[in-house]
Amino acid sequence: MAGLSITNITKRFGDTEVLKGVSLDIADGEFISLVGPSGCGKSTLLRIIAGLEDQSTGEIKLAGNDVSGVRAADRNLSMVFQSYALYPHLSVADNIAVPLRMRQQKALQRLPMIGRFVPGQRQIRHQITRDIRNAADMLEIAPLLERKPGQLSGGQRQRVALARALVRDPAAFLLDEPLSNLDAKLRVQTRVEIAQLHRKLGATFVYVTHDQVEAMTMSSRIAVMMGGRILQCAEPDTVYHDPEDIQVAEFIGSPKINILPVDQNATGALGLLGQALHLQVEQKCQSVRIGLRPEMLRLSGEQSLLTGTVEHLENLGAELFAQIAVPGLENRLVLRCDPSQRAAVRLGATVGLDFTPAQALLFDQDGTRIRRVHDTSRRPVSTAEVVQHGRT
């Protein structure tokens, strides 16, 4: 068990810089999810932590010790590879046993025939068999133990790879998209298993995933990576409700956050499609955009901020997502509504949308979050201000 501290890691492959200064502090026993679009360098970062790849610059500390010169086998980490990397000639049971045998038995004890007679072997062997059983039961691969990896489906292979990683008790677990090939039911189930295992072992987990639900439900913190940088690393709630960057806001959350351009007048007051939002931004920006999560929008009557027609409906049973085209806006807005509101959001219907401007997330032209926003709605609004907005 150990904390992990990554400082200013860069990695270049020839001319391309894949990691551009990644820093991340992972406390002992934390569950960190690395999320980000394909090709942003998640696997590369994981491989550098594991010691399978050397960083170009930067430092990695494991339990306070610099491990830059330490080879992967000596870092005592366990890893699930994106491509499974199972030994094709070994049965499932033997695959799972490899890390145990390699680390618990000496070369002599591993010999096929003679090893049996080395003193103290019986106990170690029994323990290994038990460990394999436990791991196999947990991941529901017990009936497959005698098979070769070639005779397994993708999802089964993935579970074997997971079992091989989880069977040990390392300083930290590095998992590279370990559930990507499982079916929905098994994925939920395994997700719970891993979360429980994390609680039980109290070990450090670094978990790469594309699946936001996984990231949101399992992790203590989520690190959102993009283009070789970590844009934000915070608790799931914070990443969702209080993103630092427009890219983070857009990446996290499904359906995607609604981004709307807003105007800013000379005094810094904001307006949307000619209507005042009663928000004041201190700094002067070239352009300001606001982000509205689908659940921030609500249906309203006549006096709405936005009016549009329902163009598409996605009914998920427990909730309903409506895509609404608003004249003057490039993209359709996505609205989350309760199934009870179905009658109001028929296809083609004209609906009014409202939201609380103070909840909206504001971003400047670079996509950085604007934090210094004043809510001016509570003090009486002067007519002049509204008129001014009408003109901009």
Partner: protein
Amino acid sequence: MGAPDITLQPLTKDTRPVPATVQERRAAWLLTAPALSLMVLILLLPVVVAAILSFTDYALGNDTFRWVGWKNYSHLFTRRTYEKMFLATFTYVVTVVPISVGLGLGAALLINSLGRFREIYKTIYFLPVMATLLAMSIAWEFMLHPSIGMINRTLELGCGTLFEAIPLIREGCADRFPVWLGDKRYAIWVISFIGIWQGFGFNMVLYLAGLTSVHRELYNAAEMDGAKSAWEQFRLVTWPALGPTTVFVVTISCIRAFQVFDTIEAFWPQGGGPNKSTYVMMFAIFEKGVQQNLIGIGSAITMLFLVFVMLLTIVQCWLVERKVHY
């Protein structure tokens, strides 16, 4: 059903339905017939003819022959000459196969670990394979010459130095250096050495091809699992992945070793080496069947040769099926 005769007539004229399977089967036989007959004619027929001839005393040019039953075969297992033949052949195979496979694997692993110069090394090691053994034999004959040959000249340099501790050099300095090709103690080993020298480059190339199929991430997995030494990684990843290649390489090496002929024919055109110590099967077939025109006994050796090769192939198939296919 009268289906068979009508298949070639236009279907519209005949309303009786022709079962598709029968039609398909006939077409299939028709289409494979040329290949089948060629196969029988040029691959199987010679073997059958050789098998028949091995029971006769036929000689080329004779009008008639007599059936001699198993006499040719019983000669093979009773006469002293053939005992020497088996001894020479098996010594050669048992020496050349493991060493040339081992060296081929070693060279392939070394070359595979190189970044640069890979192609150069590959070419150098492959040179002996490309050169014809017959031409190379002449070069070797020069080198092995007892008095002016490079090898004995080099050994002479060791006289009077520490190298005299080696028995071969000590005896050589005291008396004279070996007559490599004329001494029955050395001849078969010299032939084996040349066989290895010539053959391992071929195995190396096969192994290099096999190595490209090893999944690179497996080495990473092995490293994470705690396989630290190169040997452990080799055992866990490389060697199992090379299983199918190894079976193939060993079989090919065995067959090639059984077929050794050129060097022996070049060094000792008459007789198969000093005291018949290098009288291998191929040479025996050549001597009996071609030089002495004893087709019957030549065919018998040929059949025996085929049996060996066939056994090897069966073992290979069995291994591939059972052990090395994942």
